[in-house]
Amino acid sequence: MKQLFSFIRKEFYHILRDKTTIMILLLMPIIQIILFGFALTTEVKDTQVAVLTTTNDEASSRIIDKLNASAYFDVVAKIHNEDEIQTVFRDAKAKLVVVFEDHFAEKLRHTGKAHIQLIADATDPNAATSFTFYASNIINSYQQELMGEAKNPYQIIPEVKMLYNPQMEGAFNFVPGVLGMILILICAMMTSIAIVREKEMGTMEILLVSPMKPIYTILSKITPYFVLSCVNFATIMLLSVFVLKVPIAGSFLSLVFVSLLYIFVALALGLLISTIASTQIAAMLISGMGLMIPVMLLSGMIFPIENMPVPLQIVSSIIPARWYISAVKSIMIQGLGFSSILKEVGVLALMATVLIGISMKKFKVRLE
């Protein structure tokens, strides 16, 4: 045991003496969580709109005002003939063009029928669907106003409620994902060079001839990074609760428990990379670059896993972040109890065992 502690102390020295790296490691998550927490949202806001009218009548200008007044749209341009539509889109001046037909108000007054065309830049398909829907709603509400008394006599009013996130705050959606992503990437990158660096520096030989069991070497490598990651986790939590105002709806203890487990899994993953990789460069590229895209895309932080084709859903289940993010969403956002994340905890525990197991097996006690 005494041996283990002195080795842990050695590892602490390794890290603490490199002040610059420590600063980077502690500051990085702070900037990222604040930046992403405030900036990321899938809500459609301030979409730029161009309006095509040939006549400046009251009806169309009322609709334009209404569009402009809503949080969804900014009317940025008025154009006067159809050829300009293409230019507006190509120059990326607007995402939506509202086309009023000729003599819009006149037709509406006399025949009771008039035509509006919404032409959307559908490069981003979902944003296009959303803002077209919002624009239709705004036009419909103008129509309701027009009708006044003569409005639709039969009304079904949908009462709408967004569960768990009534204000549709972007931070509620993204904090669990960003937390999961930052933790796993930083943890894996930290430990991924722990062993391979000693191999490259030649100090590995000294470790190997010492009477330390491999498991102790591995544990002593993980411990300081574990402490550092806990500090990171704590700062991220403090920032998201007090700065981003994302409350922890469920039990704080369950959240801490599953997070510690996850940090351990992430560190173990880095260690496994370290035992397999032959050079520091390979280890760092695998853990930094190789993990980044899979974690972003397959963890459910952005794209819902249930929408993916089945083979990818299976692949996604080996990504630890998927389980952690799902657990954090359940506890932090939905406020569910520990019983609802049993599956996630089970999977993460299994991953921890397997990863440490393989690292042990791959850990060579002899130099090649």
Binding site: K151, P158, T279
Partner: protein, 372 residues
């Protein structure tokens, strides 16, 4: 002089057991696998219904929703609490609650309501499912109105009505893959041409070979240029592989010209590689370099509009994003691929990218010190 330095750089890259393989495998893997994962196409939303009315209207409404292709009925609950349980167990995404006397109220009082509660843990999915459901309810409403008012005196004839039809340009089938594949090419290019230069100088520092360069009469600019050119060529290789896969696997060809893409890519690679070299110049260890470039990469990617629209960000974040070269190149790739934009229309991006490229590379030359 630069000829020899370049030969050295290429040898260093090719003799590395890991890098050449990475340059080919990474784009292949990302482009073959991830476009299938990156999908917001919302279909098969799971619907939970609480029908407290059990009338013909309430049944018709449910049927109309289920037959819409967007929803499938996965849960029928007796009360809201049960339905909420099904959301907690992830069996359903949205709840439709039809109150008692729904039909009677509509016919007699001309007014009734339904309650819709969507799971907003994933904001995009919650918002979309809400949008779809509400528009189906609205359709149902006018259907019923017409029926109740009866044939000739049909309501829709008597009211002043504005007909709205919508048209989706550039991506008429609202295919999400068309949106994501060009973006993923950008992502691969950014990662390879950002991470690799970031380690290239600090790697030599750790190895000790940097000392030899420092004592040689190689001018700073030549040295940086020799570091830059290999990555520039690798970048072109990567973007060629990327667009080949986009064409062969996804049938995606730019609506504009490949030459536009290469023009912008040429400038863009210089930008990210320049940033990588700056990081590498300042870093003392490989680990530092990796962490710092990782930080920039992640910020660039998340604030590029790749996943979430830039327009929706708060003003200060938009301002931050305008200093993000990745954002500009993302706009370029998507515009060229989908809208067929030309460099003239993208002049804002062009000047921004040229500015960044000059800035980072001048900085890279200036920050390279031959003395410690």
């Amino acid at each position: 002089m630069i000829k020899f330095l370049l030969r050295k750089e290429f040898k260093q890259i090719i003799r590395n057991p890991f890098l050449p393989r990475m340059i080919f495998i990474f784009p292949l893997m990302v482009l073959l696998v991830f476009p299938w994962a990156a999908s917001y196409e919302i279909k098969n939303l799971n619907l939970s219904v609480i029908d407290n009315d059990h009338s013909s209207y309430s049944r018709r409404l449910t049927e109309k929703i289920v037959s819409s292709n967007y929803f499938r009925l996965t849960n029928v609950s007796a009360n809201y609490k049960q339905a909420l349980k099904s959301i907690e167990k992830k069996q359903s995404d949205i709840i439709l609650e039809i109150p008692p006397h729904f039909e009677k109220d509509l016919v007699n009082k001309q007014n009734s309501k339904v309650m819709v509660s969507a799971n907003a843990v994933n904001g995009m999915k919650g918002g979309m499912s809400m949008t779809y459901l509400v528009s189906i309810v609205t359709d149902f409403n006018s259907e019923i109105t017409d029926e109740l008012l009866g044939g000739a005196a049909s309501f829709s004839d008597s009211k002043p009505s504005i007909q709205i039809d919508s048209q989706y340009k550039f991506n008429p089938h609202l295919n999400y893959r068309v949106f994501m594949v060009p973006a993923l090419i950008v992502l691969i290019l950014t990662q390879l041409c950002g991470f690799l230069p970031a380690i290239s100088i600090v790697f030599e520092k750790e190895l000790g070979t940097m000392e030899q360069i420092n004592v040689s009469p190689v001018p700073k600019t030549t040295f940086i240029l020799a570091k830059l050119i290999p990555f520039w060529l690798i970048g072109f290789l990567v973007i060629t592989i990327g667009s080949a896969i986009a064409w062969a696997v996804y049938g995606l060809v730019p609506a504009g010209y490949y030459s536009t893409i290469y023009l912008f890519a040429g400038i863009y690679i210089l930008t990210v590689s320049g940033l990588g070299l700056v990081v590498s110049n300042y870093a003392q260890t490989l680990q530092q370099a990796m962490f710092v470039i990782f930080f920039f990469m992640l910020v660039f990617i998340m604030l590029s509009g790749l996943y979430t629209p830039i327009d929706s960000m708060p003003e200060w974040a938009k301002w931050v994003a305008s200093f993000n070269p990745l954002k500009h190149f993302m706009v370029v790739m998507r515009s060229v691929y989908l809208k067929g934009s030309n460099p003239l229309q993208l002049s804002k991006e062009l000047f921004a990218l040229i500015g960044f490229a000059v800035f980072f590379n001048v900085w890279a030359v200036l920050s390279y010190r031959k003395k410690n």
